[in-house]
């Protein structure tokens, strides 16, 4: 899928991957790829800036952990992040219904 098509929805997708629990950047990318069955195969370097911005906006929080002897930054949803995700999900469902109504 074209990166421009995804860009407007990337925040919601990243928030959704973290809904089940904390993940580090690489795992977020893998989760996106797996859950979309390979459709969302983004340039991986685009995800990290989004994670940082979502954290700066207070939708995510992050902390260092150690894995295989190296430092790893793990991200988790904040309460605001959960509310934001719920709102984005509602908006998306309304948008899809409207598009389908027009295209059908």
């Amino acid at each position: 899928m074209r990166a421009e098509t995804l860009r407007g929805h990337l925040d919601a997708l990243v928030l959704a991957t973290l809904q089940a629990g904390p993940l580090h950047g690489y795992a977020v990318i893998e989760e996106l790829r797996e859950r979309s069955e390979g459709v969302f195969d983004l340039a991986e370097g685009t995800i990290y800036p989004v994670l940082h911005r979502l954290e700066a906006e207070g939708l995510l929080t992050s902390a260092w952990s150690t894995a295989a002897g190296r430092r790893r930054r793990v991200y988790r949803l904040t309460r605001r992040g959960r509310s934001s995700l719920a709102q984005r999900r509602t908006d998306w469902q309304g948008f899809v219904r409207a598009i389908e109504a027009v295209l059908a």
């Binding site: 370097g45 990290y48 800036p49 911005r53 790893r72």
Partner: protein
């Protein structure tokens, strides 16, 4: 040169340095090690220049907004403390002064009032534009307004300290005044650092809208008139307030005239910097 070396250089080129750059590099290093089969990180992560640019793009808006909120918060602390000091000093009464000491007391009081107003106006303008700013030119304007507001706030604190040092006052008020001057310093410093952090990742931009960019759409066409109206309102408040407080019409007129002169000087001196005029 490794991918991480190139990324470090490119991050530095877009103004991301120090601990924040180190954090990004540590995360990207972990990412690369998670996928040891991948021999060309640039193919999966993207070219270092693009990745660094994306970081700056994603973060400059949120950092600028946060810096303006932090600046306004810091200035609110200054404002509350300065008002408390002024009210407290008023209740203690003023001794008769003459000569150089009287001049320093008058000038420091004038500087305090003027700088507090500059801080209030610049901080409010920064907040107003921060909500809408997305382009570098507007973000630079928000950062400039925040910077001016913080400098004026720091100047107001310094003026208060000079005023307290020269004006004979009760001991309790001296403690209050010097605490008012000193307590906000670390908060103002933190806000200044946040403005500098936002500035470091924002390219220079020009062509930001003037005051019209801060007003509601219905008023945007009348930005000059709105500015004049606000100025008149401030002068009226000062003149009437002074006349009532001092029970003297002439005192109200004098202070109103001083306020009007200060406002004109402020617009002339800082209008361009604060984006009030082109």
């Amino acid at each position: 040169m490794t991918y991480l070396d190139e990324l470090r250089r490119e991050l530095s080129n877009v103004g991301i340095k120090g601990a924040f750059a180190l954090r990004i590099l540590t995360e990207v290093d972990d990412h690369i090690r998670c996928d040891p089969a991948q021999s060309n990180p640039a193919a999966t992560l993207g070219e270092p220049k693009l990745v660094a640019g994306r970081f700056a793009d994603e973060l400059r808006i949120v950092r600028t907004r946060r810096a303006s909120y932090l600046s306004f918060g810091a200035l609110s602390v200054v404002g509350v403390l300065v008002v408390a000091s002024a009210v407290g000093r008023g209740s203690a009464g003023y001794p008769a002064l003459s000569g150089g000491r009287a001049t320093v007391v008058a000038l420091s009081a004038l500087a305090l009032v003027a700088l507090a107003q500059v801080a209030l106006v610049a901080g409010t303008l920064a907040l107003a534009r921060a909500r809408r700013a997305t382009e570098p030119a507007d973000l630079c304007l928000v950062q400039r307004r925040s910077f001016v507001a913080l400098l004026a706030g720091a100047g107001a604190c310094a003026s208060l300290a000079v005023h307290a040092a020269v004006l004979p006052s009760p001991a309790w008020w001296l403690v209050l005044a010097f605490a008012t001057a000193a307590v906000p310093v670390p908060i103002l410093g933190a806000a200044l650092r946040s403005v500098a952090a936002a500035r470091s990742i924002t390219p220079a931009g020009s062509g930001a809208a003037g005051l019209s960019g801060d007003l509601p759409a219905a008023l945007a066409r009348y930005s000059g008139a709105s500015l004049a109206l606000l100025g008149c309102a401030a002068v009226t408040v000062i003149a009437v307030g002074s006349a009532v407080a001092e029970r003297s019409v002439s005192e109200g007129v004098i202070r109103g005239a001083i306020e009007a002169g200060g406002l004109l000087a402020g617009v002339a001196g800082l209008g361009r910097v604060l984006g009030l005029r082109r």
